[in-house]
């Protein structure tokens, strides 16, 4: 069974998206990056994000991630913002009762695209 299936597939993404997005928007340190983006479209993107880091099916390449976040890097996106997002991801999963080892797997997937997201 893949990590995505073990976590509960699409249902787990749906359960996580509200909690995760609410945490991100409540965090003034990163919230500004999400300003001015339509909420519903953004929720779709959050789902794409979660599906990806849960190891689920997606068509994104590293290059897509690089391009998709470039305008944010131009606005100052750096490693410390990245750590905040990882922390919100961790606490979202903990809130949903996901075990530590699984959380660690998700975090390592999320960490694997760091150089692309931050355009290094």
């Amino acid at each position: 069974m893949s990590l995505y299936e073990e976590l509960g597939g699409e249902a787990s993404v749906n359960a996580a998206v509200d909690i995760f997005y609410r945490r991100v928007l409540s965090d003034a340190y990163v919230a500004s990056f999400f300003e001015g983006v339509d909420m519903e479209k953004q929720a779709g993107k959050q789902k794409a994000f979660l599906t990806m880091v849960f190891g689920g099916p997606n068509n994104y390449t590293g290059l897509d991630m690089r391009e998709g976040h470039k305008h944010l890097v131009d606005k100052g996106l750096n490693d410390s913002h990245y750590e905040h997002i990882l922390a919100h991801l961790r606490s979202t999963l903990a809130e949903l009762g996901v075990g530590n080892d699984k959380i660690q797997e998700v975090i390592s997937i999320a960490d694997s695209v760091r150089t692309d997201i931050l355009n290094k």
């Binding site: 749906n14 998206v17 509200d18 997005y21 609410r22 928007l25 409540s26 339509d38 909420m39 929720a43």
Partner: protein, 321 residues
């Protein structure tokens, strides 16, 4: 950069440019109104090439299967050959049965369409302006069981279509309409769920349909209606909503005005703060928000932060281009 071919001519679509903007930039006319993927008046068909999936958001399966897409939200990833969607069969005439002012800037029109329109209370129709090419969307305040379509139209300063409907259109005239679409409507998937309905200005129009639809479908949970305006003269249907609230114990109605005194039972203050104070915790609520896009977006965000699930927030921002 993708090439867009239309009627044998090819045009270069700049990076991040939509098919609509590209064609308009090259003086190719494509009908459009909201320019944000809502009203579907800019629908086109991909004859060659595949438009990105998001450009088909909200389209019926049958239209998707025939490669239709919305030009205003289509940023092509590959070359496309496109044709205009022939919407002539979707337009019909509707006779103006009644016209009356609801307040100094909102007129109510009741229309009798040539053919019966299938719709859900809270959806909207498109109307052509006097020039026959400008298209604007207006929400339905009526119920499908009523034998007219009811619209509430606010006069927008220098607005092309709203002033035409206010000043020129008369009882007995015919309007060109198309409809209905939109996903701001009542579903009885959870009849006990508390509902919060927030309308700003003519954002009350779709809600007036949704509220009565929910009641007609025996919604058992509470229904809280907030109608906001700058000042009391900008409100309307005060008596109608009070009567509904008197008839239905589950329903409450709160008019909100930013300036001056609120009518009895109402509150003075901006509607967003009023809602924030009255509903600090929206967990489990279903929320409907309609009207001015900026206010809708910020109330939407606030309701989400107060605990409403994204899937439980329905909104109809009255986008304009």
């Amino acid at each position: 950069m993708a090439m867009i071919t239309y009627k044998g001519e090819s045009y270069t679509c700049e990076k991040d440019e939509t098919v609509l903007v590209c064609l308009l930039r090259h003086k190719v006319f494509v009908p459009n109104a909201c320019q944000s993927g809502v009203c579907q008046s800019c629908m086109m068909k991909a004859v060659q090439g595949t438009p990105p999936k998001v450009a088909q958001t909200g389209l019926k399966d049958t239209l998707v299967a025939q490669h239709h897409f919305l030009a205003c939200i289509c940023k092509p990833e590959e070359d496309l050959e496109v044709s205009l969607y022939d919407s002539s069969k979707d337009w019909m005439l509707a006779e103006v049965l009644e016209k009356s002012l609801l307040n100094e800037s909102v007129v109510r029109l009741r229309l009798k369409p040539q053919h019966k329109i299938d719709y859900m209370a809270g959806q909207f129709i498109n109307i052509k302006g006097q020039d026959g090419t400008s298209i604007r969307s207006y929400s339905l305040a009526s119920l499908p069981t009523e034998d007219y379509l009811e619209l509430h139209i606010k006069r927008v300063p220098d607005g092309l279509v709203s002033n035409y409907l206010h000043d020129i259109v008369a009882v007995g005239d015919s309007l060109s309409i198309m409809g209905a679409t939109g996903d701001c409507f009542y579903t009885n998937r959870d009849q006990a769920q508390p509902l919060l309905m927030i309308g700003v200005g003519t954002g009350l129009a779709p809600l007036y349909g949704v509220i009565r639809d929910a009641l007609a479908k025996d919604h058992t949970g509470s229904i809280h209606v907030y109608h906001g305006s700058l000042a009391t003269p900008g409100l309307y249907y005060i008596d109608e909503l009070r009567n509904l609230a008197n008839e239905h114990e589950s329903l409450s109605y709160t008019p909100c005005v930013l300036h001056g005194d609120a009518p009895e039972g109402g509150q003075q203050g901006d509607i967003q703060s009023v809602v924030r104070t009255d509903f600090p915790d929206l967990k489990g609520y279903r929320v409907y928000i309609c009207g001015d896009p900026q206010i809708v977006d910020s109330i939407k965000k606030q309701c989400f932060m107060s605990g409403a699930s994204m899937a439980d927030i329905y909104s109809d921002p009255f986008d304009f281009s």
